[in-house]
Amino acid sequence: MMDTKLNGPLPAKPSRWPFYFFLIGLFAIVLISAIYIGANPLTFIQNSDNMVDLFVRMFPPAWSYIATTTPAMLETIRMALLGTTIGMVFSIPIMFLCARNIFRLRWLVELSRIGLNVLRTIPDLLLAAIFAAILGFSPLAGIVALSIFSIGIIAKLSFEAIENIDNGPLESMTAVGANKLQWIAFGVVPQILPHFVSYVLYTFEINIRAAAILGLVGAGGIGVFYDRALGFFAYDQVLALILYTLVVVIIIDLISLKIREKLL
């Protein structure tokens, strides 16, 4: 028999104070941050005529600037393409090293993962700024920066895909005496190839966006023109550039999405 009292006193409600304290703490952190960086809404309101002025001067967009910047836009696409490709090539060995079900050497896998995580913390623009200092102000700096940046994304997504593969084919290959390379080539690769290609395309989409701004730190592409147009306060040109980049990004996204849908 259950000994439940039907009309007994209700259990006390859990105190809500910890939750309130947590919220207050959160707001305090936000407030301190805002004060620390001098975020004053008044500054924004006082300068709102600057904002209005900026918007007014943006229209109509300087459409002729699109023709001027097309070579740079093509360079941007080239940079993204080559950066993604080089990154893809280098990410192949790294992703196998990071997958727990491929290499049984625990320390090697963990070390590779730490290395990959450290690599992923460095933003693309910082890499570009450093490589622009090493290689000079040229698209080459952008390509190298994007390659390294791509390794982080592709290897991370791919090694997670590798860890989720079906073990059956691998076991049967081990059973018939395949060596490690055969094991990877015929057991692992066919299973992850569609995912891998899809991740490469996804990275390409990210890289197009990244490549469009690398020029701001001197690493080639259309970003150089943003700097120039803003320097001359030519906001109509800036708007033309923004719209141009937007259209190119959307078109490439659509193509890439179509291919990815077919793959998976």
């Binding site: 952190i29 936000v30 301190i32 941050s33 805002a34 620390y36 960086i37 001098g38 975020a39 004053n40 500054t43 924004f44 300068n47 709102s48 600057n50 904002m51 900026l54 093509l74 360079e75 696409i77 080239r78 940079m79 393409l81 080559l82 490709t85 995580n117 450290v118 913390t121 460095i122 933003p123 693309d124 623009l125 910082l126 700024a129 450093i130 200092a133 090493i134 290689l135 000079g136 040229s138 698209p139 080459l140 390509i143 966006r209 469009a212 701004i213 701001l216 730190v217 943003y226 803003l230 306060f233 800036v238 923004i242 980049t245 937007l246 990004v249 959307i250």
Partner: protein, 267 residues
């Protein structure tokens, strides 16, 4: 016999398809490589690389903290503050827009689609470009960076919020409506409790991205540790570049670890 022919044909077709794809790929790469203007690597590349590596091995530890003026800790704190204040601004902006864009909360298709359109427009604007524009409005500094991140993150957060709302269970909302709850009550007691964990998780994820973005904002004059980095690069003080990069990596790693631990606990 005919079956074998069919198989042969299928195989030939498949090979043809692969050949076309390969030719297309080769054409794209020829176009890409031939178009890159290769001016050769400048002679200083070797020594500069050596100096950067040396800078990493023996970084300028004295830069970590100096009692007066610019140092690494202050730069990193400013970066963190930009990311926190920025994410707060984007939460305030993204919640209404996200609810507006959610299919299952609005009656007409046009309402939610227009919300989605607004969000995807903001998603395509890079943070850095926004920062450049805000610098023109409020002047260079961390405030411009914070506004850029706030607006820039709105697009992505709003989309994630809308998806979270669309994936929720309609039951609780219906039962609140059945007992006579108004729209606001439905939102407060039917929608919010269901989507809150998802919202928090999406926000934390975006915060990780904000940290990286905030670290780069200084490169163009919008505050944070990037300012110190670009000065160090321009001044060729590689030991300082080394310590700044180490600082960024450590802080971003800590934020990533904390955030992913929190996200795992929530969902």
């Amino acid at each position: 016999m005919s079956q074998r022919d069919q198989l042969k044909k299928a195989r030939a077709r498949k090979r043809g398809k692969i050949a076309i794809i390969l030719i297309g790929l080769i054409a794209i790469y020829v176009w890409a490589i031939s178009g890159i203007e290769f001016r050769g690597i400048q002679e200083t590349a070797g020594p500069v690389t050596k100096n950067i590596l040396k800078g990493f091995i023996s970084p300028d530890w004295s830069y970590v903290y100096s009692p007066d003026g610019e140092d690494l800790i202050r730069g990193l704190l400013e970066t963190l503050a930009i990311a926190i204040a920025g994410i707060f601004l984007s939460i305030i902006l993204a919640v209404p827009v996200g609810l507006w864009a959610a299919k299952n909360l609005s009656k007409s298709f046009i309402t939610s689609q227009s919300g989605k359109g607004v969000l995807s427009f903001f998603r395509t604007l890079p943070d850095i470009i926004l920062a450049l524009l805000f610098i023109k409005v409020v002047g260079p500094g961390a405030f411009a960076g914070m506004l850029a991140l706030g607006i820039g993150a709105m697009g992505m957060l709003g989309k994630l919020y809308a998806e979270e709302v669309e994936a929720m269970d309609p039951g609780p909302v219906e039962s609140i409506a059945a007992v006579g709850g108004n729209k606001l009550q439905q939102l407060a007691f039917g929608v919010i409790p269901q989507v809150l964990p998802g919202f928090i998780s999406a926000t934390l994820y975006r915060f990780e991205i904000n940290m990286r973005s905030a670290a780069t904002l200084g490169l163009i004059g919008a505050g944070g540790v990037g300012t110190a980095l670009i000065f160090a690069i321009q001044g060729r003080s590689w030991d300082r570049v080394g310590i700044i990069l180490i600082g960024i990596v450590v802080v971003v790693l800590i934020v990533d670890l904390l955030s992913s631990a929190l996200r795992k606990r929530i969902t």
